[in-house]
């Protein structure tokens, strides 16, 4: 089956800066998160995916077609851009209807009404978008992207500017669209958002795809990275020298009444710790891993890729 979006060794550079470098991936139905810090190349990847920018190397295909040339490809895409701009002097209904006309929708009014209902804007549909808050404008942008029922929905930082309740609405909408078989690619630099919504995550660092997979698969990356463990004890200094001698311990800091340990062998540490504590006359009050969330994995991947030149 042809993927709805395919990057095949795609590179894009601006002068001597590589914005996207040799990136390959495919997006199928479901929700895919494009994760990366600011300047990682997410927006450039989205512009390439929607045909707004041309790759310098490699090729981008949407439903098997070049999005810069094919109207079939463009009809497949619904885009929520990062920018805040909307045409002035239009109501929300008018703006979404205009976008429906641009995309060749037949029943423009009904499609616009349904799209605005999907983002909870029915009550303000006749109001001018000029007076809308950032959150409302963001939802209008999502509505215009949904108006022609796209098979591939691409959203650039869609949760920016939304209050917690609006975020929940949009997150629920993205999940529902993913469940309905719409291939949804959304970018974010907030890991918790991606972790909540996405079935699959693509991690971009400095324009390179450094990891991809499901959030649990990314968690498995923990197996190959050093772990940070905090040990709360009555005798941190006494225990420190014994732990420092263990194989795999890369770093050790005394932190108040505890020890902050970075080790490549967390299992060995866990097995050795009770004996070492007894030997040092220390009482252990707690042992916890401090970098078990996706944020830490992302930090690790970012640091690992820091050597990648742009």
């Amino acid at each position: 089956m042809t993927p709805l979006l395919e990057f095949d060794r795609v590179s894009k550079w601006f002068r001597d800066t590589v914005a996207v470098g040799d990136v390959s991936f495919a997006v199928a139905p479901g929700v895919t998160g494009l994760l990366g810090h600011n300047g990682a190349g997410k927006s450039t990847a989205i512009r390439l995916a929607t045909g707004l920018a041309r790759p310098d190397e490699g090729r981008v295909l949407v439903a098997g077609h070049d999005p810069r040339r094919s109207s079939v490809a463009r009809a497949t895409i619904g885009l929520v851009p990062d920018g805040d701009g909307l045409w002035p002097g239009l109501s929300a209904q008018g703006l979404v209807e205009a976008c429906a006309r641009l995309r060749g929708v037949r029943d423009v009014r009904a499609a616009a009404t349904a799209a605005l209902a999907a983002v909870d804007l029915t009550e303000v549909a006749q109001r001018s978008v000029a007076g809308f808050s950032q959150g409302m404008r963001q939802r209008v942008k999502i509505a215009q992207a949904l108006v022609h029922r796209p098979q591939l929905l691409i959203l650039d930082e869609p949760l920016n500017g939304l209050d917690p309740q609006q975020r929940e609405t949009v997150i629920a909408l993205l999940k529902r669209l993913g469940d309905d078989g719409v291939a949804t690619l959304f970018s974010s630099h907030v890991l918790s958002e991606v972790e909540r919504v996405a079935d699959r995550v693509l991690v971009l660092v400095n324009g390179r795809l450094v990891a991809e997979g499901s959030p649990p698969a990314l968690r498995e990356l923990m197996d190959e990275r050093p772990r940070r463990i905090y040990v709360a004890t009555t005798s941190a200094r006494g225990l420190a020298s014994a732990i420092a001698a263990l194989p795999g311990v890369r770093q050790l800091e005394i932190d108040g009444d505890g020890l902050q340990i970075e080790t490549e062998d967390p299992t060995g540490l866990a097995l050795a710790l009770p004996g070492l504590a007894r030997g040092a006359g220390a009482v252990l009050s707690s042992v916890e891993q401090t970098d078990a969330d996706l944020e830490s994995i992302y930090g690790y991947l970012t640091a690992r890729a820091r050597g990648v030149r742009r």
Binding site: G51, L79, P81, L86, A98, C99, L102
Partner: protein, 237 residues
Amino acid sequence: MIVTRLTFRALLLRKRSLALLLPVASVLFFAALAIIRGDVTPDTQAIIVGRLLITTVTPLVALVLAVTAIGDERESGTIVYLATAKISRLRIAAEKTLAATFCTLLLLSPALITIAVLGSHLGIGWDNIGRGIAATILIAAAYVAAFITIGLLLRRALVAGIIYILVWEGAIATIAPSAERFSLTAWGRAISDGGLYGITTELVPTLAAPTGSISLLVVFGLAILLAGWRLGRMDLP
């Protein structure tokens, strides 16, 4: 024609567009002055239409609206909604040109009414008045198309356009007779001035009105094609 409607609406809502009524008012001012002073001759008509309306006011209004038609969409980011729509980039360029031309003519309409009144006062006949209006319409369309293309090719299109209007159209093409073959203004004046009875010879371009009309239409068509091609090639924000 949704792109035309959106662009037309956006252009008219801009305060900058309303400021363009100021140069348009200069046509009214000089026409009123000529009538008050009782100095209405075919030369007066030729100067107001050929030198003021066609050479200065129309290019200026067309320049600002053409550059705004594309520039504002690029700045605000709304151009991505057009570029990712089902329509071709050539159609986007053509519809934007149409919208900016309509808007230019709307803003010029007080001046067009004025030259009609002036022509009627002079008794030059409706065919000659019609030539002046047709010349303004054609030159407005050609300038808009050309400036939209320049807006897609250059970063500082407004500055480049002003230099072009002042240096080439306003000075060189007016002084050097051979330059009129490559002057949009001269082509426009060939349509408006050619049939005026009693006009002094130095004000009349040597080109024939059909040559001027065809040349302006060719510029209009080629500029739209070039703008569509450029829009298709360039990266958008």
